[in-house]
Symmetry: none
DNA sequence: GATGAATGAGGCTTCATTCAT
DNA sequence: GATGAATGAAGCCTCATTCAT
């Protein structure tokens, strides 16, 4: 029964492919990225990729989902501890800065799928975006329950916070700001958002 | 003066190519877009494009610059009239909503170049982003001169405002909100930003 | 208007491709034959073939139809002159021997499409087979009108004659008989068929 | 005697592979047929096939030989009993109709190898064809010994009879005739061939 | 200047075959 | 012996680019 041999090995290879795929897709985009190169980087044969993923598109989507899961986990754990909305928004911001820095490939490729023109992946990216948004919505609901804040549409507000947070980081990148500088702005940013939300009422 | 007539014809053809390129690139992205289709839509021969642009990449960049110029013009004219910073931020927001709606192809393709993964285009898009940012910086400087507001880094602040404005529109799209709904939020958004800025100090 | 330039050149190229395709398909069969090699043999670029034929399959079918037309023409002209059924069957046989010899690639590939297992082409080959059969049916009808022969189902009889004629030639090939020997058997074969038909009544 | 048991098991597996190979090759032809599918259908691992056959080509040839043996056996037993040449030709025809119906996979794949385009298999198929032919030659010799018929080249005549018989069946297939209809024509066909042979003298 | 037929590099994908377990 | 995961050669096809007309 050689099949059962390596459930772990299989999963490890899958991870390695996804990891290299993220690098390559982040570097070149979906179309320019080469399955061949991904295989080489992952240290496996060209054909082996097709034992793990149906085709290039499915590999990309699997990678996208993997990225989203891993980022979601990071975000959830950042928001796990209790605290005021202000504090938690700051933690959220820090978590994103961390992701953008440490998993910059993943961050890039995800942003690209979301804001890029390739409609094929926008649908999936949007679906994942809502997962992110849901985590923030939860935090908002708790803050509302505690009377910290009021708002009309929790989903819309959550999405806006997410969008703003990403927006901060993206523009910081354009400015060439380092992670350190960005982290220093965490508190200010949280307050910015909070103030903004209050102003909306 | 047949030279001028030819010059005009040439410029007209150039515009037509760029216009169709924007449509095609917005629809399919850089790689999936086809030179062939662009030529057909522009009503010219495939080879003719290469009399106007060195290659696909240069066509894309030329298109990007054209879009940026045209959007800049729209933004400048929106901010032309005097007024409080609050009012002008509202106008800025309205101008972007307008662009995103009426020139959605251009807006898409520009966002994609900016947040997309293709570094080659990111560099150029970033350069253009700074042009946008400069317009906003000017407005900010005027407001500071009038004592309406204070801030440390005018460029960073301008970039942030730009980034936030785009961010609002992008997230509205994800939510599927119409232009009408977005325009209704113009005033609130302006106040959001202004409050946020104040909080930052 | 460079498009109109060469309607003839285009047709010539098309012919050359089909000719080389027949050689290659006859040599290796549909799957083993390489578009690349066909292009090389035809002295054109790999991609050029796709300007003339949608894909490999369509090239094969076009070739099949071309072969059928050309063979049909040969057969029709062989049966053009009047004469007794006996004479005309002999002429038919000679025409097939000629085809099998001079256009052996075409003959091979057609037989292969007809009797091979590749269902994809059997349908088309069968359709063409009926065209052949129709020519023979015409000859039979004329013979019947002249009272030379009687039979029940003209189509079935025609098909049988065709099938037998091909069968003779195929088995002669297996025996390694030359064209000369085969031609010597023309008269005997015609009589064989005629006797056989009579026996059927 | 565990050796014999193993030998039997081995032979049984070999048979099963050949059987499924025939199904698959008959369905899709040599190139389109998949070793993978054959292994699955045979209920063994993909690699196991290579313990029984050197490669795909050898499997095909082995299958061809197996089919030929099994068809030869059927034909021999059909011609086993004494009788007039007329009767025996009828029996031969019936045997072939039976084979074409009951072992249509085998029949198809054999015809395809014989008339198909792949020279590699044609050589082997021709060799087998001569085995068939030899059985018929034996019948002819007996008939000649009894003074029923005369002919010059017994091998050529035998091959022709075989070829014609197959030809009848193949054209009946094209016409879409059922086995029943074909069997009804057995007597007529035998007479057709006999008459034809007589005419040849 | 304009054209589009021709080109061929490049890429995804398949699948017979190998070999470590 | 049996297995099937891994391999990589091979092939179809696309499409940006060239260039003769």
């Amino acid at each position: 029964m050689p099949k059962i041999v390596d459930e772990q090995t299989r999963e490890a290879t899958r991870r390695r492919i996804i990891h290299e795929a993220a690098r390559e897709f982040a570097r070149l985009g979906f179309d320019q990225a080469s399955i061949n190169v991904i295989a080489e980087q992952a240290g496996i044969g060209k054909g082996t990729i097709y034992l793990y993923f149906e085709n290039k598109r499915e590999l990309f989507l699997a990678m996208l989902r993997f990225i989203a899961q891993s980022q979601l986990t990071a975000i959830r754990s950042a928001l796990a501890q209790d605290g005021s909305l202000d504090t938690r928004l700051e933690l959220l911001f820090r978590a994103f800065v961390q992701l953008a820095e440490e998993e910059s490939d993943s961050f890039n490729v995800y942003m690209s799928a979301l804001y890029g023109v390739n409609r094929a992946f926008q649908a999936e990216a949007t679906r994942l975006l809502r997962d992110y948004s849901a985590v923030i919505a939860l935090v908002l609901e708790e803050a509302r329950a505690r009377g910290e804040i009021t708002f009309q549409d929790v989903d819309a507000t959550a999405l806006m916070i997410l969008s703003l947070t990403e927006s901060f980081i993206l523009s910081a990148r354009v400015l060439g700001q380092s992670k350190q500088i960005l982290l220093l702005q965490a508190k200010k940013t949280a307050r910015f958002i909070l103030q903004g939300l209050t102003a909306e009422q």
